[in-house]
């Protein structure tokens, strides 16, 4: 049986060599980020009284939904607060790292025919997958140790060595778990896009189940790896069992993935392909039709997904109402804008997060053009009589039109759930206005992507980084007391938070103009530059 793993070590070292820059960037940024926040938080809430006030807000179901259940709230130490703020958030980031690295070395290499070359050599047929897993485990162990010792090095009393190492182990375990899940999904699907798509869907569902479970039903949370890992209660109770269970499950998933790999043909999956049409429908026969057709599944999946996300966000508003009524202290603590309820303040926050997440699919739709070009597929379309403008215009149009559709769907989900659970109903009109007012910001993001595609397509990844930053600032900006200019750096920071703030139409028009200028500039660039040869 060991023959199936021949040369796994050589392949693992090869992966490490090939991906070293990527892995290092992930490791360094995750570690530095965690340690920085760990250093920063205690200075923000330096006195025990301040921390105790924070502890009180942590009981808020909306916060629980976002960050996980509070623990150690009676004596809220720096460590407890840090872990509570950051563990779920960091775990998601580590999950993304594992998904991307694992897909690259499994299904993507297979789809591109590289595994075929490797398999023709005296290499065990499970070696490529096993090597990928080895490197994923290795990377996450290094990450766990770096973060663990990094936090301990801050020298804070409440952040002792045992707790810090557990913190590291918790995110490392999540990383390993998502490598295993991605490795498994890579066996089931037949292309890298689906592998990434299903893995991210799993991540988001795990997050939502955890959110709902943390509020209503603890058992539900334990199903989700993200919910499970928060049960470590780092720096307070330091439970190790969630880490062991997560790693144990990962090992089972690894084994299952290896088994599936061993019984399937190369380049095959387990989801059978059906014969398709013999002739193209009329709709397909244009660049726009082709672009739509290529993204049909992703388009629909995200519409459904955003609706579900809206529903789950809306569903916590009921709990929030009850919580706010019961807590006198909170009411004194949070300054209430004239004439607006606390619920409305949280609603505003949830809408901005929905809008930022809703930007993900619009960026995907526009960046698909670059993905196609990279694979050498646009060339053949251009070989037909298609102008550059028509090509980039088709993808841009889809992204621009998708934005209001997605906002509509997520707000409808939000509203329908909210009106089901709340006593003071939110008017649909207000909510729609609150959602649609973010459109200019989303379009600026699309414009930025178009600009990059037009001039330096290799850097289109920057739009994701920028969106990630936007998410971070909107999500934790208030609690981390980040300075205002940090949110002003993103287009979302310039959007009035309806209904608390008045709509400033001049600001909106300026944002739309910026989006238009970026887009037009991108078109000009795209008309001038060379197309990249497919590899």
């Amino acid at each position: 049986m060991l023959r199936q793993y021949t040369h796994t070590g050589v392949l693992a070292r090869f992966i490490l060599k090939k991906d070293r820059v990527k892995i290092l960037i992930w490791l360094i940024s995750l570690t530095v980020f965690t340690v920085l926040i760990g250093a920063m938080l205690p200075t923000l809430y330096s006195s025990a009284v301040e921390r105790q006030i924070m502890a009180e807000t942590m009981k808020n179901p909306a916060v629980t939904f976002m960050l996980g259940p509070g623990y150690g709230l009676d004596n809220y130490t720096d460590g407890a607060m840090m872990a509570h703020f950051m563990l779920a958030f960091t775990a998601i980031a580590v999950g993304i790292m594992s998904i991307l690295l694992t897909t690259k070395n499994t299904r993507e290499d297979e789809e591109e025919g590289r595994i075929e070359m490797i398999r023709s050599l005296p290499v065990g047929f499970l070696s490529p997958l096993a090597a990928t897993f080895l490197i994923a485990v290795f990377t996450n162990i290094v990450l766990a140790l770096a973060v663990g010792f990094g936090l301990y090095a801050l020298g804070l009393e409440s952040m002792d060595l045992a707790g810090s190492l557990l913190y590291g182990a918790a995110i490392g375990a999540i990383g390993i778990c998502f490598a295993a899940i991605t490795g498994l999904l890579a066996q089931l699907t037949t292309n890298a896009r689906s592998t990434i798509g299903y893995s991210f869907a799993f991540l988001i569902i795990a997050y939502l189940i955890r959110g709902v479970g943390d509020i209503d039903n603890e058992i539900l949370s334990l199903i989700s790896p993200l919910g499970l890992i928060l049960r470590t209660e780092v720096y307070v109770n330091n439970y190790w069992w969630p880490v062991f269970i997560t790693v144990g499950i990962s090992i089972v998933l690894f084994a299952l993935a290896l088994y599936l790999n061993s019984i399937r043909d190369l380049e095959a999956g387990f989801i059978p392909t059906r014969p398709g049409r013999k002739h193209a429908s009329k709709l397909l026969l244009s660049p726009l039709g082709l672009a739509l057709r290529l993204q049909k599944t992703v388009l629909i999946a995200w519409l459904v997904g955003m609706f579900v996300l809206g529903v789950s966000y809306g569903s916590i508003l009921g709990d929030l109402e009850g919580f706010l009524d019961s807590s006198e202290m909170i009411r004194q603590m949070i300054p209430v804008a004239e004439g607006f309820t606390l619920t409305e303040r949280f609603m505003v926050m949830l809408v901005i997060i929905l809008s930022i997440i809703g930007t993900v699919p619009t960026l995907m739709y526009i960046l698909k053009l670059w993905a196609e070009e990279k694979r050498g597929r646009t060339e053949q379309v251009f070989a037909g009589s298609v102008s550059r403008n028509r090509m980039i215009g088709s993808y841009t149009l889809i992204a621009i039109i998708a934005a209001p559709l997605i906002q509509l769907v997520s707000i409808m989900g939000f509203w329908s759930a909210a009106s089901f659970v709340m006593e003071d109903k939110l008017p649909l009109y207000t909510l729609l206005k609150a959602g649609f007012v973010y459109l200019p910001a989303i379009w600026v993001m699309v414009g930025l992507a178009v600009l990059l595609i037009g001039f330096i397509p290799k850097l289109t990844g920057l739009t994701w980084l920028y969106l990630g930053y936007t998410f971070f600032v909107a999500y934790l900006g208030d609690m981390l007391q980040l300075p205002g200019w940090m949110s002003q750096l993103t287009p979302f920071g310039h959007i009035p938070q309806v209904p608390i703030e008045e709509i400033n139409y001049i600001q909106i028009i300026i944002l739309i103009l910026i989006a238009a200028v970026l887009t037009v500039a991108g078109f000009i660039g795209y008309n001038r530059r060379d197309l990249i040869q497919g590899v």
Partner: protein, 297 residues
């Protein structure tokens, strides 16, 4: 000694039968041509031989070992080049060659540099910037740098320029001189004709013809152009005559190679003024076989 022995091999993809009882045998020191129309099952056969696909039925033995179960052992002595070489865009050609050479247990000293020179490859460039032909060269160099006993080549020269094609042919002949065996799948018939000792033709998952080139030539037809003093009587009633055509005083026809002597004797009675014959080509044979399902050519 038989290096490759495939018996009754079948492969189904779902309910589509890609291979339907394929038999094939490559002996030591042979260069074996494997040809057939697109989608006939060449790549599928080769991938089963490499243990990349699992056969539905039948047997594929290489060096007497099972292609699926003993893949690792077998691959130590095999070098493979696919028709479409995909590499890691951010690694250089040199790095990829080194990886492949390292994974294979045995390789010839200094062969790498010599081959890079001969194939005129710049090993310091990233694979992402290579042209198709240059990606192909990376795989070829990695293959020939190996001290393999069997070379499995699936349309290895697609994208090579004629000069490089020549280098490739030299490499193959050198390998043969050292007693190595080669299985070569190709659509370039002149290449097959020049290199191969034996050929198998596969169509729709079945081997429809195999044998040495001489034997196959026997199955082909010679084209004849002839002028005679007297008109040739009853020519079309002779055995083995095809595609008879007459233009002015000249007659064109094809004749089965087996019947050639007989036909020549017959036509000589009519006073030959001019006689041209075109030798049988593989191409004619292939065209006939490739199209057999439709019309007779």
């Amino acid at each position: 000694m038989s290096i490759v022995k495939i018996t009754n091999l079948t492969k189904n993809f779902g309910n589509f039968t890609a291979l339907d009882g394929v038999n094939l045998e490559v002996n030591q020191g042979e260069i074996y041509g494997f040809i057939g129309p697109n989608g006939a099952g060449k790549t599928t056969t080769i991938r089963i031989m490499l243990g990349i696909l699992k056969a539905t039925g039948g047997e594929a033995k290489i060096f007497g070992k099972d292609a699926w179960k003993d893949a690792v052992e077998i691959h130590k002595r095999i070098a493979y080049v696919p028709g479409e070489v995909k590499l890691w865009p951010n690694l250089t050609g040199g790095e990829v060659i080194d990886l492949f050479v390292k994974l294979r247990a045995s390789h010839k000293q200094n062969r790498r540099e010599e081959l890079i020179e001969r194939f005129n490859l710049d090993p310091s460039k990233k694979c992402g910037t290579y042209s198709k032909g240059n990606r192909q060269k990376v795989a070829l160099i990695a293959a020939f740098a190996a001290d393999a006993d069997l070379y499995v080549l699936d349309e290895p020269t697609s994208g090579l320029d004629p000069l490089m094609e020549k280098v490739f042919q030299e490499c193959i002949l050198e390998a043969k001189a050292e007693g190595k065996s080669v299985l070569l799948s190709s659509h370039i018939l002149s290449e097959v004709e020049k290199l191969c000792d034996k050929v198998s033709i596969i169509r729709q998952g079945k081997i429809i013809e195999s044998g040495s080139l001489e034997e196959l030539r026997h199955l082909t037809r010679t084209s004849i152009t002839i002028q005679t003093k007297e008109p040739i009587k009853n020519l079309n009633e002779l055995k083995g005559i095809h595609d008879l055509e007459e233009k002015d005083d000249t007659i064109y026809f094809q004749v089965d190679t087996e019947e050639l002597a007989h036909v020549m004797r017959y036509v000589s009675q009519f006073g030959v003024i001019k006689l041209e014959s075109a030798p049988p080509t593989l191409e004619a044979l292939f065209l006939r076989h490739y199209q057999r399902e439709g019309e007779e050519v």
